[in-house]
Amino acid sequence: MPEGTIDHSPIPLGGAAVVTTAEGTPSAEALGLEEHGLSQRALAWRRFRRHKLAMASLVVLALIGLSAVLAPVISPYGFSEQHLDQILQGPGTKHLIGTDTLGRDELSRVLYGGRISLLVGLGVAFSAGVLGTLIGAAAGYYGGRLDNAMMRLTDLFLAIPLLVILIVASRATSGGVRDIVVVLALFLWMPLARIVRGVFMSLKEKEFVEAARAIGASNSRIIFRHLLPNTLGVIIVNVTLTVAAAILLESLLSFLGFGIQPPTPSWGNMLQDGRGLMTIAGWLVWFPGLAILLTILCVNFLGDGLRDALDPTQRRVRA
């Protein structure tokens, strides 16, 4: 090639120069392992697929979700339908997992209860997610006094003990789903705010943000077009894990009698109902309890998988 020409040939993909980290171990991507032609999302999906437990959890959760959505269709009975001639029956052919003190079918109640619990879980996670992101983003991006104010607010909310929440919940709410979601969201937004703030503060210093400013981008463009998309991974992981926390909290609230009020079943208040009868009618406690356990486990595994897939600091050379 003649001297001084500009290279027009497409460089063979994966032809990146190798850069070693301080420890001397070539990092996976630096070894030219860029996947060809794939977006970040596709790469993340590939990484996620490798996490067997997370994949399995995804399937299980999909099933749980499906059953919750289809509860009216697939449950054999209504959730408050009483069969007074069949109270406290163990699992059998007519009532697959038994009945309670009022002869209500446990299976149907578990299915409908799942609806409530999942609804609450998702609703809280979403609301807390939005709230936490907004506050964290504002604090992280603008800094200064706004940051100070936002962080003190966060500290304030973090300091509120669960007991107070319970009292407030019992007084202020009617036990409806909406009120519970609001109360729980107010209790769960803080960790995400802190995390988002941290990510924004570090991203803010990155050169591509400086570059955006240099070309004249406005603050809102920088926040929504540059910073948020790069924070999405962290937010998704956190929101997922918040779902688990929310379901658990809702169960706790309902168990203690502050949450969802009967006759609407929730896994939590079903536990409360069955608590006293555990020795003679264990199925009243095992099945809702199992449902909670399974759901939360799966959500946590899913969160782990998402973190592995989306968290950029986790890229490492695997054997």
Partner: protein, 343 residues
């Protein structure tokens, strides 16, 4: 040599001034306290510098860590607000420009960043990255995608790759993407902040050649910042040397390299190794003692005196001004004397 200005010593056609910087100062406050913040000191990143850049030329700005060269770049582009001083672009005072006025000015000056891995948003396609300036300034509508394709070709990239993501490209290619982005608005001035420092040696030449060609084709003016004197010798027309927030010498490129007069410049020039074993081993090497002082508390008088081999008492008492001391270009040393350090 007569007391001539730099322009006269340089065989250039007379050019108008594009940028003028006067007594520019930037102090970063150091605060303590949580509720009530008190300033306890300041980092004197840039402490009163003045220079001009003529249209079409490349001014090289060299210095080591703590010299303030990167801060200067950002002050020029108004990515930072100066503590005091003046910045003029094409005669217009932009020191205190803000809001929409500032954003207007931004179209005239752009920047190429050092780190090709961090200066591109990993979640945007190349087309979006290079096209963003056009988006921001509503120039995308009439054939934005075509403009992007053209820019990519100009910088030596295949326009078909526009829908790819930064991580699919090598360091040198990413830098080309950054250059394409800087060109999108057809600015007059481009500040290049260590554009090749993070690249492999065999790729550097490509990028430097590209920058030279683009300068010619687009009639660009460059402020080229680098700690690598060998690179600056290749690209600059004039060179300014910075130390601890001040300019210590500024002049025509070849003059400065062949016969530097400020002891710091001399130390710098002699410290850069020459890739020729015979020359390199025969040379005189000035090895400075000590470390670079902290910019929080710069030495009194001449800042370089703590490491200078010529330091006398007067150096601690009186800060030398940046003036021509009879050598054809300004220097800031009481004992400035030319020395030849390149065989």
């Amino acid at each position: 040599m007569s007391v001539a200005t730099e322009a006269a010593a340089v065989p250039q056609r007379s050019r108008q001034e594009l940028v003028r910087v006067t007594d520019l100062v930037k102090h970063f406050p150091i605060t303590r306290g949580v509720i009530i913040r008190q300033q306890v000191g300041a980092v004197h990143a840039v402490d009163g510098i003045s220079f001009t850049i003529r249209k079409g030329e490349t001014l090289g700005l060299v210095g080591e860590s703590g010299s303030g060269k990167s801060t200067t770049a950002r002050l020029l582009l108004r990515l930072l607000d100066p503590t005091s001083g003046q910045v003029e672009l094409e005669g217009q005072d932009i020191t205190t420009a803000a809001g929409s006025q500032l954003r207007e000015v931004r179209q005239e000056m752009q920047m190429i960043f050092q780190d090709p891995y961090a200066s591109l948003d990993p979640r945007m396609t190349v087309r979006d990255i290079v096209g963003e300036p056009l988006m921001v300034w509503n120039r995308w509508r009439n054939g934005g995608a075509m403009q992007v394709a053209e820019l990519l070709e100009r910088v030596g990239l295949n326009p078909d790759h526009a829908s790819r993501f930064p991580h699919e490209f090598s360091g040198g290619q990413r830098q080309r993407i950054g250059i394409a982005r800087a060109l999108a608005l057809r600015p007059k001035l481009i500040v290049c902040d260590e554009p090749v420092s993070a690249l492999d040696v065999s790729v550097r030449a490509q990028i430097l050649n590209l920058l030279a060609n683009l300068q010619r084709d687009f009639d660009l003016t460059y402020l080229f910042i680098s700690h690598d004197l060998s690179v600056v010798r290749q690209v600059a027309d004039r060179v300014a040397v910075m130390y601890l927030g001040k300019v210590v010498e500024i002049g025509d490129r070849d003059e400065l390299y062949r016969r530097p007069v400020h002891p710091y410049t001399q130390a710098l020039v002699s410290a850069v190794p020459i890739p020729d074993p015979t020359k390199e081993r025969k040379r005189e090497h000035i090895v400075l003692g000590g470390d670079i002082p902290s910019p929080v508390n710069p030495p009194s008088g001449c800042r370089f005196r703590t490491r200078c081999f010529k330091a006398q008492d007067v150096c601690a008492e009186q800060e030398p001004e940046l003036v021509d001391r009879g050598h054809g270009h300004p220097s800031a040393c009481h004992f400035a004397e030319p020395m030849e350090l390149i065989p």
